[in-house]
Amino acid sequence: MTHHIFSFEWRHLKSSGLFRITLLLLPLLIGYSLYLGNERVKQQEDTIISLRAAEASFYEEKRQELVAIEQGEKEVKRWFQDPANPLVLSRFQGAGKHVFLKPKPLAALSGGQLDILPNYGRVTLTTTEPLRDNALENPFMQMVGIFDFAFVLVWLIPLFVIVLGYNMLSAERELGTWALLRSQPVSINRILAYKMLFRLLILCGLVILSLLLWSLLFGISLLHADGLALIGVILLYIGFWFALCALFNLFMTSSAVNAVGLAGFWVLFLLLIPSLISMLATSLHPVPSRALWITEQRSIEQAVDQENDALFDEWITDHPEEFVNENAPDFYEVWFRLLLVNEAVENRLAEAEQKFKEPGERQTELVSRLRPLSPPMWVQSWLERRAGTDAQRLRTLDHEMKAFQQEWYDFFVPRFRRLEFLTSDEYDLIPDPGL
């Protein structure tokens, strides 16, 4: 019986123009989104590889130079070119390391906020520079957003579900075949349930199969917990929209009412609720303009700069043993002071920046509480989190960079303060953020 109804339902679908368009368009859209996603991830990985390679070759060059110097084959010309000097290895041109937020296994499926927020950064003794590959991109692109699988899933697939499901039963009533079906020796509920089930299976099958085949083609692995969870979420999401279609159909409304009503729900969940949530977040927790932050930053720098002497004196009094008084080279005190000032500035900036970061965090908190109101928002956010491209993860970059900077600082600054230069053997001890 199942087979019988399915095979005839298939004939119905086959002869429907809308279904044929879906059959053609949906796999193509999924394919293109995965292609773009795969390219994006490849670029991220290339960046990681090339930057890591550049770091490695910088330190290897310095090490060889130092070996040559240690063996007396070479001489140090100027202090700022000395490969044993901690400042040269931690702060000067070419020194420093990159911290990466590596793409997660599902990264190809969701670009998330990667077009707005940096996903790696360069750390030196005194600077943390957040970076992203597409920083020079046209802001117009950001306004429109990334075309990724998440977009196809969250925005377009519901429309295809609606197109294939809005008149599942109402068409049967409007055609009049309903009357004949009811006189059959099979319960009408069973027939209708099979008919709906078939459409659901076709839709799920089409999406999952396209996803799997294109992933296989582009070499995106889905054979892990997140991949399986993704398939679960896709099924749930399609199921949600399909259930909505079924509800409309079961309430004996006409096809036209179903179409309008379902389109209304789509607008409600995808446009209206998100825009209201976003407006609520913006007006409850307004983010102050960074223009103020820029000027504040500058006043902090100026203020600390004026305390330069006081800072230095205080430090010397507290740690007299850690300051080399005798035979110190010229650059020693200059850089000693500079690092002190920098440290003080950083501490105060971190404090002051809180009021610019906090509203954003509050917004995120509020939005995550309201998100269940809109299943599409939930799916989008789930996929972004699993892809590691959500704003919350990307905003941890700052923290990661600062954490690594501390490690870097703890390795180099004490050596600098004691004027202990590195030997070529000690190069292996230089901290690395790893991957």
Binding site: L18, L36, Q113, I116, L131, D133, N134, A135, L136, E137, N138, P139, F140, M141, Q142, M143, V144, G145, I146, F147, F151, W155, L156, V163, S255, A256, A259, V260, A263, V267, L270, L271, P274, S275, I277, S278, M279, A281, T282, S283, P286, V287, P288, S289, R290, A291, L292, W293, I294, T295, R298, S299, Q302, P359, G360, Q363, T364, P376, E384, A391
Partner: protein, 472 residues
């Protein structure tokens, strides 16, 4: 007049339709909320930017005694102006940086866009009139109009009316007037509230003209949607199929084409990444004077030529400060290199937007969005206008600083030469003037034209439909 009877009857029917009434009220409340919340936010932003710009100037003037070139390195900031029109059409405003650091030797990019700090839910949809008019309002028009002719056919009323001597042209014209009437009914309150907000916030320059232009663009867009809706309704066999077709049109125009084309454009006209760009700039900079390295080949050659021209042996014998001259010379050289490379990026952006504008043949939404951003002055061209003004200011400030060094740091004053707040207070201040013209780039004209073409084409489509179906 038959036409007006039909129109009056249709408006009466629509106004009595509870669903239409509720949806209309929802539209109006959304518009009201978006304008009010947007205006509040604008006020705060405008104040903060003004405050920041003043502060930046005070910091510049009170940077302490120093060599003019140190001051050039200290630099100053230009903050992106906020326009009240962004309440209605924010354009790319959320995605462009708010501050531009202006310093010696280099041109920087604007940093800190609002999007970086806000929650990502904004990217689903942001409640602004531009969003409501671009996405929701067309759906409303489709909903109000998809049945207007198809349902008359289904109920047999169409045949009846035609048999009464009503021509199809009269029928469609009447329905069109009715649909425009409903649109006007919703648009008028928005327009009045919007205009009041604009006038209350003291519009600057040509803001009023821009406001009218922007509203004109939207009306054209509604016209396209209304005409297409009626035409499709007249051509469809059933109201159901009219609905499905119109929804598909909406989806393609507002969602699919914009996303596909931008990502496609980024793919075929890729921008270099930041480190690539700086590597290229660095490579080119090595080919010219380095103001900080008198030993470089180009600097030495320049020095020799200056010495030769003045017939002296040593820079100290020159009647002016040589490093002031050399710094200015290198500044101009560096500017040339930066201008060249940034222009290339700009060109890539332009190509992307051209492709985007070209795709508006498939999507009236794209054409309208570009045109409304243009008229509101919140598009990428308006942003470039600001960055260019900032750059012009920067280069002028650098010239003033270098010239001071060149002219005054001579003789015994040369060593340890410093200037103080008196001097800095006299430096030119950055004030940004929005362009007087609505259109500042050829690319903008295209989107406006395409919007008008879409409108004319939709009108033509409706006229063809109404003259074609005379016999039934």
């Amino acid at each position: 007049m038959v036409v007006f009877t039909i129109a009056r009857n249709e408006i009466r029917r629509l106004v009595r339709d509870k669903v239409v009434l509720v949806l209309g009220l929802v539209m109006l409340s959304l518009l009201a909320v978006s304008v009010i919340s947007g205006a509040g936010y604008y006020k705060v932003m405008a104040e903060q930017h003004e405050q920041a710009q003043e502060l930046a100037r005070i910091q510049w003037e009170n940077q302490g005694e120093k060599n003019p070139h140190s001051a050039a390195h200290y630099g100053t900031f230009a903050f992106k102006p906020v326009t009240v029109l962004s309440v209605f059409e924010p354009g790319v405003d959320r995605y462009t940086g708010v501050s531009l650091f202006m310093e010696a030797h280099r041109q920087n990019f604007a940093t800190y866009s609002l999007a970086e700090d806000k929650d990502a839910s904004m990217r689903f949809a942001e409640l602004t009139p531009a969003f409501i008019f671009g996405y929701l309002f067309p759906l409303f028009i489709i909903f109000v109009g998809y049945r207007s002719i198809a349902a008359e056919k289904e109920s047999g009323m169409y045949r009846f009316l035609v048999s009464q001597g009503v021509s199809v042209k009269q029928l469609i014209t009447g329905k069109a007037i009715a649909l425009w009437g409903i649109i006007a009914l919703l648009f008028a309150p928005f327009f009045i509230v919007g205009l009041s907000v604009l006038i209350l916030t003291e519009p600057a320059g040509n803001d009023l003209l821009r406001f009218f232009g922007m509203n004109g663009v939207w009306l054209l867009y509604f016209g396209v949607m209304a005409h297409v809706t009626l035409g499709v309704s007249a051509l469809s066999k059933s109201s159901g199929s009219a609905m499905v077709f119109l929804l598909a049109f909406w989806m393609i125009s507002t969602l699919l084409v914009p996303k596909l084309v931008t990502n496609f454009a980024a793919q075929i006209h890729p921008v270099p990444n930041t480190s690539e760009l700086y590597q290229r700039i660095q490579a080119d900079l090595r080919g010219g004077i380095d103001g900080h390295n008198p030993y470089s080949e180009h600097s030495a050659a320049f020095r020799d030529s200056v010495l030769a021209a003045h017939g002296v042996e040593d820079v100290a014998d020159l009647p002016f400060n040589f490093s002031g001259l050399m710094l200015q010379e290198s500044e101009e050289f560096e500017k040339k290199i930066y201008d060249y490379h940034l222009a290339k990026i700009e060109e890539i952006h332009q190509r992307q937007i051209q492709l985007f504008a070209a795709s508006s043949v498939l999507s009236p939404t794209i054409a309208t969005r570009l045109a409304s951003m243009t008229t509101a002055g919140t598009d990428i061209h308006a942003f470039s206008h600001f960055t260019q003004a900032a750059e012009a200011y920067r280069i002028q400030l650098m010239r003033d600083l270098n010239m001071d060094l060149k002219v005054h740091a001579v003789g015994d004053r040369a060593s340890g030469y410093a200037v103080g707040s008196d001097f800095f207070a006299e430096n030119i201040a950055f004030t940004y003037q929005r362009p007087n013209e609505l259109i500042i780039s050829a690319g903008q004209r295209i989107s406006l034209l395409v919007t008008i073409v879409w409108f004319m084409a939709s009108l033509l489509f409706l006229m063809i439909v109404s003259s074609k179906r005379e016999e039934l």
